[in-house]
Symmetry: C2
Subunit: 238 residues, 2 copies
């Protein structure tokens, strides 16, 4: 069994959303961390609620809209005066995120090795296109897959199924890489080979199978390529 392609989650995995928290702190001193945390949690919750509704065709909204709604709710929770200008400033942070420092060299190395490397993200196509272009990654990432066409967010299997369909490979021959433990779990259940990039040293989930690999940066991707999938403990984060 060999890894023949790599798919990355986008937000938090390839793109560093920390700048969003910085901007939130500048706008709302002392509340930036709380706002960005509530914003992120509600953003994820909304993706799940529209997907679990049983009528995602009726209730689906693009990630950009859910992200905005989640920001508004976070501000409501904290009693912040989110002016239109502040809202636009924070939303625009999501459009132009920076890369984690090690990512470019990892992507370049994958390209040098001839291993297809793409994105599979909840982000809608326009968001992803702008983010990839802003970060100067257009040459290094293909395919860039959004869940938008299936109107179901991860961890719905219809979202994960986009990867094997686009790459023409079985899921187990694709390494799915995410910094979100829940995303790694969903991908593992779906059948991908999985790497959880646990940048913050968070505890492992207490539910389901462990990811096949765990590491602290995207560099771990290169280490995974030569390892058998069954060696789950080999690079596990202690």
């Amino acid at each position: 069994m060999k890894i023949r392609a790599v798919l990355f989650d986008a937000y938090g995995t390839l793109f560093d959303v920390h700048s969003v928290a910085l901007a939130a702190e500048q706008l709302f001193p002392g509340q930036g961390a709380a706002l960005s945390q509530l914003w992120r949690e509600k953003q994820i919750e909304y993706t799940r609620l529209v997907t679990m509704s049983g009528q995602p065709e009726a209730h689906y909204r693009p990630f950009w809209e859910l992200t905005r709604a989640a920001l508004q709710h976070g501000a409501d929770r904290l009693g912040l005066d989110l002016t239109p200008a502040a809202e636009e400033r924070l939303m625009n942070e999501y459009r132009h995120l920076s890369l984690f420092p090690e990512n470019r060299e990892v992507l370049a190395e994958l390209k040098a090795r001839g291993i297809p490397a793409g994105i599979l993200s909840n982000g809608d196509p326009e968001m992803l296109a702008v983010a990839v272009k802003s970060a100067g990654l257009a040459e290094l990432l293909s395919p860039v897959l959004s869940v938008h066409p299936v109107r179901r967010y991860k961890t719905d299997p219809a979202a994960y199924a986009l990867g094997p369909a686009a790459l023409g490979l079985p899921a187990r021959e694709i390494l799915f890489v995410s910094s979100n433990a829940w995303d790694a779990l969903g991908a593992t259940w779906f059948g991908y080979s999985t790497l959880w990039v646990n940048r913050s040293g968070a505890p492992a989930e207490r539910l389901g199978p462990a990811p096949h690999f765990t590491g602290r940066s995207l560099r771990e991707v290169l280490a995974c390529l030569g390892k058998p999938r069954t060696a789950r403990a080999a690079v596990a984060f202690p």
Copy 2:
């Protein structure tokens, strides 16, 4: 259009989980609020992940088990030494919760009016049976519906469908009552008439339709019974 029956969410709506936070604070001074919040968030997340997996038959675990796993993860996050004794003490708080003070009179009034009043909960049948018995509500609540038979947690429509099936009524003639905004939203999407009991004065969701009614205590149930469902703003929380 008339409300002919009422279904209540259990945890946080009928039963006050505050005692859980108190016990957590006694065990881990200064960390009780954080632990109980992480615990609750992870508990809900796990119900969603197993349901969204696309194979809930394979990945479903009873609510009791997910609750325990979520507690363990919360302790992991905070770096707490959750001994087996501490874990059992906290889990047992979930078995024997107190009622919110107004609830008994509301349930008694529904019984006096001949309006069926039951539970539709993520809790598994044993948890619910113990909670109802502990609170002395066995005479006042029927049916007590758990999502367990369908192995899908709210907000999956298969969970909400248990209510109309058990009561022999269309969803819109059933008032679904929850303190969880996401639960009220899921029930509204499903087709119930809905009351969000917003005890904490939380902001409304920025997603989907508002619940048909909003109030600050379970007493609002009685006010809803005589009101037309279309009068959404009539008892809305400002």
